[in-house]
């Protein structure tokens, strides 16, 4: 979770808490509180225990839903961040000026629920409605801004962060005040909230500051986050920093997408990028190109080459000759490529997958009829380590970066994009579904994967945040 998500959570927390000044917020404190029913403090505590998850669920539905909706809308990188930052900034200015709320939602919670159902059940449902955000009075422009940000970014993680902060912010003051609403301290706090407009003004100024910080975080990270997130039609991504290379079309021609979204055609097919280099296959040769100037640095003959990977020190080439897969590596030196060294081989029906190079390590998938495994080979020491193995599922397309390994695990019904922490711990499922997932790529922020559809597959590259 980055600085932007933390800023979003903080802003959403404050914006949610501002809702306590709404008619519904006040009503909840009084209704859940011991003086609002016959059950006393015990029922109040039970109602608080159900109100909080209710609010959280409602908020997550709204903001994660808006983020999911945003993810299918067109628009890339800095445009999305620019719109989100503008929404945050406009709301921050309006909050700082204490502008009258518009549009206002002049609706309120159904009062009769507390009479027709047990208080904890009613509290849970009240929580859901308040968490949804747009079902009752809105007391800050921040609610609108957060909705706009979730929609504009289209990032599930951002939606979850906003939902989490908003839900907790909406519930926490109510859960804190309700149990003491019948005591002098609680009555005093409510009276202060009701009779001192300065308090409400103060929290709106807090909203303004938090939204301003969100706008700054969005603008600050816009450059870093402005990277290509999906390409269609395309396949076999490889990524380094914000630059992405893919192959496109039936001739598998290589394309380079810079972080700003500018596309450059590459002089070859099946491209890979890494360590300041781009590698492509040009007929029977593998060509090493500088990433910054796209000038050819070296070229080697590699008959049957159909996949390459490149890092700062090594070029890896997979070849298929006489139905046999071979992965060989060549060191990259100032004067060009060094001697080839074979590191893995597999005869039919076994196969070796597309390699991935990171530093002095290479990862590849080895698929045999008896089992599938993902292997990391240390190029300096020659040590080989199997990091994932399965006798039931297909394992393919690993991508290696630092201590993370992205790969695809396929079962009979589903394909999963997974991220493994090589220091230990459980895999994180980043994407799961019936769509066939294929080659992966990994950078510091995102995991890219090729999605295949149809019998003669149409392919596209999508990405998810790590």
């Amino acid at each position: 979770m980055g600085a932007l998500e933390l800023a979003l959570i903080a802003a959403a927390l404050l914006v949610g808490a501002t809702g306590t000044w709404s008619p519904c917020g006040f009503s909840m404190v009084e209704t859940i509180g011991p003086a609002g029913h016959t059950g006393g403090r015990r029922v109040t505590l039970a109602a608080c225990a159900t109100f909080l998850p209710g609010a959280l669920a409602g908020a997550l539905v709204t903001f994660a839903g808006l983020a999911a909706l945003g993810s299918i809308l067109p628009g890339e990188g800095w445009v999305r961040y620019g719109i989100a930052a503008a929404a945050a900034l406009v709301a921050a200015i309006a909050e700082a000026r204490g502008a009258r709320l518009a549009p206002q939602i002049r609706r309120q919670l159904p009062e009769h629920w507390r009479r027709v159902m047990p208080m904890p059940a009613a509290a849970a449902l009240y929580g859901v409605l308040l968490g949804l955000g747009f079902t009752t009075f809105v007391l800050t422009f921040g609610v609108w801004a957060l909705a706009g940000i979730a929609l504009a970014l289209g990032e599930p993680l951002a939606g979850l962060a906003i939902g989490l902060g908003f839900g907790v912010g909406r519930a926490l003051p109510i859960v804190a005040l309700a149990p003491i609403a019948d005591r002098p301290a609680g009555r005093g706090a409510l009276a202060l909230m009701a009779e001192r407009p300065g308090l409400y003004r103060g929290i709106r100024l807090g909203d303004a500051a938090a939204l301003g910080a969100v706008a700054a975080a969005l603008l600050f990270t816009a450059g870093a986050e402005a990277e290509v997130k999906r390409v269609k039609p395309a396949a076999d991504p490889s990524v380094h920093g914000g630059d992405l290379v893919v192959q496109r079309g039936r001739d598998r021609a290589g394309s380079l997408y810079s972080s700003s979204g500018v596309r450059t055609s590459l002089p070859g097919t099946d491209p890979a990028i890494g360590g300041g280099y781009v590698a492509v296959i040009d007929g029977g040769d593998v060509v090493l190109i500088g990433q910054s100037d796209l000038v050819e640095r070296d070229r080697v003959t590699a008959t049957g080459a159909d996949a390459v990977a490149v890092g700062s020190n090594w070029l890896a080439i997979r070849t298929r000759r006489e139905r046999r897969d071979v992965i060989q590596v060549r060191p990259i030196a100032d004067q060009g490529l060094g001697q080839a060294r074979q590191i893995a081989t597999a005869g039919p029906p076994s196969q070796l997958g597309r390699p991935s190079v990171d530093g002095n390590r290479i990862a590849y998938a080895a698929a045999k009829r008896s089992r599938n495994k993902l292997v990391i080979y240390k190029l300096k020491s020659g040590k080989r380590r199997t990091v994932v193995v399965s006798r039931r599922h297909a394992l393919s397309n690993p991508s290696l970066l630092d201590r993370k390994l992205a790969y695809v695990r396929s079962t009979r019904k589903r394909n999963q994009l997974r991220l493994r922490d090589l220091r230990g711990g459980r895999d994180r499922k980043l994407r799961s579904g019936k769509a066939r997932l294929w080659s992966t790529a990994l950078n510091g922020k995102r995991v890219y994967v090729t999605v295949l559809e149809g019998r003669r597959p149409r392919s596209r590259v999508v990405s998810v945040r790590r």
Binding site: R107, E111, L129, F137, L139, P197
Partner: protein, 197 residues
């Protein structure tokens, strides 16, 4: 209530009244409604209630039960249930006179009223509206739950004065309202906050 605030409330009420008709605010109101529909869906849309309720005899009160006996008529109370002057929000005693913090009668400018000898007028009792109702009707009363609504651009707390009585102040059958434990609404009051909505 200070003049500026009163003016603001009056203007706010007027604006709310025309909100649905003017083009920009009408659009914004429709946008708000659309957002409700978009986020909440039909079920929730049906569940939530109008938040700004017009009155039977004061804004926010949506049922027909009459006001509690109040020295100045409109049953505005402070946070502890004592009577306030409806338009100014200043405390009044049981005689309906404005009083200061020490219970002394004061004029509209807050100056202590004097008798012909130059001494402050003696204070009269000031009791909570609901307990005064109990005394007047000779049964015990309770203030149970409450609910808040938006009224004239300010959040307002609607308070029921409850009793074990099947008759309400109107003389006909009482409703449950915000009361519980078998009590029913005898009469109604409100507490006006300074929170805009």
């Amino acid at each position: 209530m200070p003049r500026a605030e009163r003016e603001s409330e009056r203007v706010g009420r007027a604006i709310d009244g025309i909100a649905g008709n003017t083009s920009r605010r009408g659009f914004l109101a429709r946008l708000g409604g659309a957002m409700v529909a978009a986020t909440a869906g039909g079920v929730v849309g049906r569940a939530i209630e109008p938040g700004e309720a017009e009155a039977y005899h004061f804004c926010g009160h949506i049922y027909t039960t009459g006001s509690c006996p109040h020295p100045t008529g409109t049953p505005r109370i402070d946070k502890d249930g004592f009577p306030l002057h409806a338009s100014s929000g200043k405390p009044v005693d049981n005689l309906g006179r404005r009083v200061d913090g020490r219970g002394r009668p004061v004029n509209a400018k807050g100056k202590v009223l004097l008798d012909p000898d130059g001494r402050p007028l003696p204070p009269a009792p000031r009791t909570t509206v609901c307990s005064e109702t109990a005394r007047k009707y000779n049964f015990k009363t309770w203030v149970d739950g409450a609910w808040y609504r938006c009224c004239g651009g300010r959040v307002r707390k609607l308070v029921d004065c409850c009793a074990y009585s099947n008759r309400r102040i109107n003389g006909d059958a009482a409703l449950t309202g915000y009361c519980y434990s078998g009590r029913k609404v005898f009469c109604v009051m409100y507490f006006q906050t300074k929170v805009p909505c």
